[in-house]
Symmetry: C2
């Protein structure tokens, strides 16, 4: 596998260079083969302008054309599996099994959106019949559906080099909605990005779509991503990453002459509340489950549980002792890149040196290139309520256990938390009498509520919400996982008295697509 290292601008490769960089193997600290070229300002512009030119064509594709394109991307990725699986462990230190699994999920997402688009009812078609004789004014013929928002900038995420990067969830849902995509590679995995981007490029060509359907820009978010967000052709942004990065993009997007929506998934500590009876009766499985969830993927998941709330008492002490013992060396690993290593080490050192925090477990003496080791801290609800820095994210295999005194204090802690992707409650039937209040407070602050499970493991399906109130995301009205993600890159549109031949098929008389529609208030698949 050799890399040309250039951005993919429609059907061409970039030819200019404003700087070069190499991917680093996080496990060795050594540069990998392949010299990558930061896209020039002209290349960024060209990618955005090609996307603008392609937008109307892509928006006007039929459901079957769009589904075929999504499946073509999936097939091209399957063909590229050997190259992807060979490169991914080098650029990310993630094992081959993870590469294969994440590629499977990525391909699955594309096929899921193909099925969704082909079925067609996602457009939420609504028809209201004309009443030409109505007094005092006639009622026009009104037809409503969701249409594409326009070109989307998608930022690759370091922790999901496939499922949330160049051909990841945002790209799949944008294509499904009929939007062109300009992807920004993550500097930590430019080689994977080139392989995946080339696969998409081949699928665009084979599907007969305009070249502006897809471009891939190499370079950093600062050098390439921000100028892309500034370009007037871009109509929305998808991002998964740090709070710092997400907020920088959101501020820039809001400052444009035409502000645009930003879907940034940023920061979440995914609190877990363990209720008294569950804590007493299920200690062993809870210890094992929590240790697995905290350390899964070297703790580098957005849904990693960074806060565990226990009712103070002897059951809590026993749980804490067992959990600290379980978080041994085997729970650490190699971080995705040096930036994560540095941020994790700084966050855990700060927590460890906090006056009101006790360090229960740490193997920080195990050093090595980008080695991140488990850290377990404990503190009290009172300390947490007094210092919000204790609810900050330490992205890696770390968690903070907090003991609370009574349900009133628990409710205060929950009410003090920022928005989260998930909140979890571990409770037995005997714990239930008070749960409704806690559940309601938790629901206000997250996008997904889990009972008797763990937050890691995000099912890709119609009923998933991977989103939540700020700062979990910049826009709680959306999800980045599951079929509902198609809504973020679409908008409602109304056709008033538009003749049949100018209407999209989804809205024509006779319901030629056979989709579910709301016709004069009745939901039906009939003509």
């Amino acid at each position: 596998m050799t890399f040309h290292g250039r951005s993919l601008i429609g059907f061409s490769h970039g030819s200019e260079s404003t700087g070069t960089f190499q991917a680093m193997n996080p496990a060795t600290g050594q540069a990998l083969d392949g010299t990558f070229h930061t896209a020039s300002a002209a290349e960024v512009r060209r990618a955005a302008e090609l996307a603008r030119e392609a937008a109307a064509v892509l928006a006007g594709t039929s459901p079957s054309e769009r589904a075929a394109f999504l499946r073509a991307v999936a097939d091209e990725l399957e063909s590229a599996r050997p190259d992807i699986v060979a490169r991914m462990p080098l650029e990310t230190a993630l094992p081959e099994g993870r590469a294969n699994g994440e590629l499977g999920r990525t391909i699955g997402q594309l096929r899921m959106f193909a099925d969704l688009v082909e079925e067609g009812s996602w457009v939420d078609a609504r028809l209201e019949s004309a009443q030409p004789d109505r007094a005092p004014v006639p009622k026009p013929d009104l037809r409503y559906m969701r249409i594409a928002l326009g070109p989307v900038a998608v930022f690759g995420a370091s922790n999901f080099p496939l499922a949330f990067s160049v051909a990841g969830g945002d790209t799949a849902s944008a294509f499904a909605a009929g939007c062109p995509v300009v992807a920004v590679s993550h500097f930590a995995h430019p080689g994977i990005s080139e392989i995946v981007g080339s696969a998409i490029q081949r699928a665009v060509k084979a599907s007969g779509l305009p070249e502006g359907t897809f471009s891939l820009l190499q370079g950093t978010g600062e050098d390439v991503g921000i100028p892309l967000v500034d370009h007037p052709a871009i109509k929305a942004v998808g991002f998964t990453g740090s709070r710092f990065g997400g907020l920088a993009i959101a501020e820039r997007a809001a400052a444009r002459k035409e502000p645009i929506p930003v879907f940034a998934e940023m920061s979440s500590i995914n609190p877990i509340v363990i209720r008294p009876h569950a804590l007493k009766t299920r200690r062993d499985p809870l210890v094992a489950g929590l240790a697995g969830s905290v350390s899964l993927g070297v703790g580098q998941f957005c849904t990693n549980p960074g806060l565990v709330l226990l009712p103070a008492g002897e059951d809590a002490e026993a749980f804490i002792q067992d959990f600290a013992a379980a978080m041994d060396d085997s729970k650490g690993g190699t971080a995705l890149h040096a930036g994560i290593t540095k941020a994790y080490n700084e966050a855990t050192q700060a927590r460890a040196s906090h006056a009101n925090v006790e360090t229960l477990a740490s193997t920080a003496n195990d050093t090595g290139s980008n080695r991140v080791n488990p850290w377990v801290f404990r503190t009290t609800a009172a300390a947490l309520l007094a210092d919000e820095s204790l609810t900050g994210e330490a992205f890696g295999p770390s968690t903070t256990i907090v003991t609370y005194d009574g349900d009133a204090e628990l409710t205060r802690v929950i009410a003090s938390l920022e928005g989260q992707l998930t909140m979890t409650i571990q409770a037995d039937p005997a714990d239930h009498p008070m749960d409704a209040g806690v559940v309601r407070a938790m629901q206000e602050r997250c996008g997904r509520l889990i009972v008797n499970g763990f937050p890691t493991g995000v099912e890709v399906c119609s009923a998933m919400v991977h989103g939540g109130p700020f700062p979990a995301t910049t826009d709680a009205r959306s999800t980045s996982v599951g079929t509902a993600a198609i809504e973020r890159f679409s908008r409602p549109f109304c056709f008033q008295d538009v003749p049949q031949d100018l209407l999209p098929e989804a809205l024509r008389d006779g319901n030629p697509l056979g989709i579910w529609r709301l016709v004069d208030g009745e939901r039906t698949k009939e003509a």
Copy 2:
């Protein structure tokens, strides 16, 4: 009718005062009875905090409880009809017929949302069954629905003192979604606001809902509205008004520690394209229809057509001559308040003095308190393309006619326009061969496309979109009119393995509400 002039803070009246003001009769320039008190900072905080306390209760109301509340608000407004209809002409210079009609629409909107909520399927319920034996990992039980976003700040609009103010579309859709509302009165109609706000207050009490369900703040957007937007309890904002006002709110909301969505409907000139055959064959009805649409409600509708594009030639000249003649004195009237009069006069004077603009009709010599007179301008597509100021809004009974040379120039003009609420095309079957391209370009830039109609007159129904790309609104992914408006104040939420007794009824086994749900990918009303 006497006014206490105080803000309504939950079930109480405000008692502090940081300043007083009176409503002005725009037709006379005289102050009306009633002294109104600008809400104090403490009253703003109290209203927001009451809303926060009420949020979980309101979000947890059953569909029938919420529908009953919306109907109670409608009934209280109906009871207040004599007071509203007596006061509205004084504060707005709008005729009694309009007051009665707009009140009917406002009551109708509330009842429409009651029906929507009672039917219940708007929550978009999705269920995915658990697969405990799935390998490599079990699939959890996942249930998705839309839930309330939290307390909403609603700004009253001067041009819809009922339908887009204290009990208007945003309030109705926020209540329907389960969100408390803190309304900000418009300084031009504080009396109407007090009458309407008191009606809502009575309905909240009678419905047994917490007092924080609704508050009304008296004062200006600057004094009262901005501090309200800053309050952390507020989770979304609805606004209809000027571009200046909407942008000020959007910037403030984006600068909060927790940014929140702003749905500001701001600025639109609602272009109308008349195609050659239609121009030739339907001159008289087009002249009459356009004159009616431009001057309806003294031109003070968001969907007022401020730009008319005609193919240059003798048919255009004949149309222009007839249209200028039709726009006589009878098309003017009294503006809603002095701010609109001033802005309209400045905008029309600037347009009239533009080097490339010809004034076709004006009766500017007819002066009087807040008198706004019709202005008709003409220019060319080339001039428009050279100076974007010619596409600015002049809010009142004015329009600019633009002649274009050929379809390529028309397409360039459309591509140069900012986002709009509506675009309209007047075309006969003989005009159609080129329409698809024009239609596509128009669709990219608006929220509603109208064929052979006029943009004024916004049907309140399931298929309406009153929204569009910036600067028509700050968020094209939404509508402020019609049942789909409920989506703006809700967000998706996922319940994972949550026991039946903690689930909302909409998601329980057996489908107790009998709503449409997506169950394992199949849309069904079955249990």
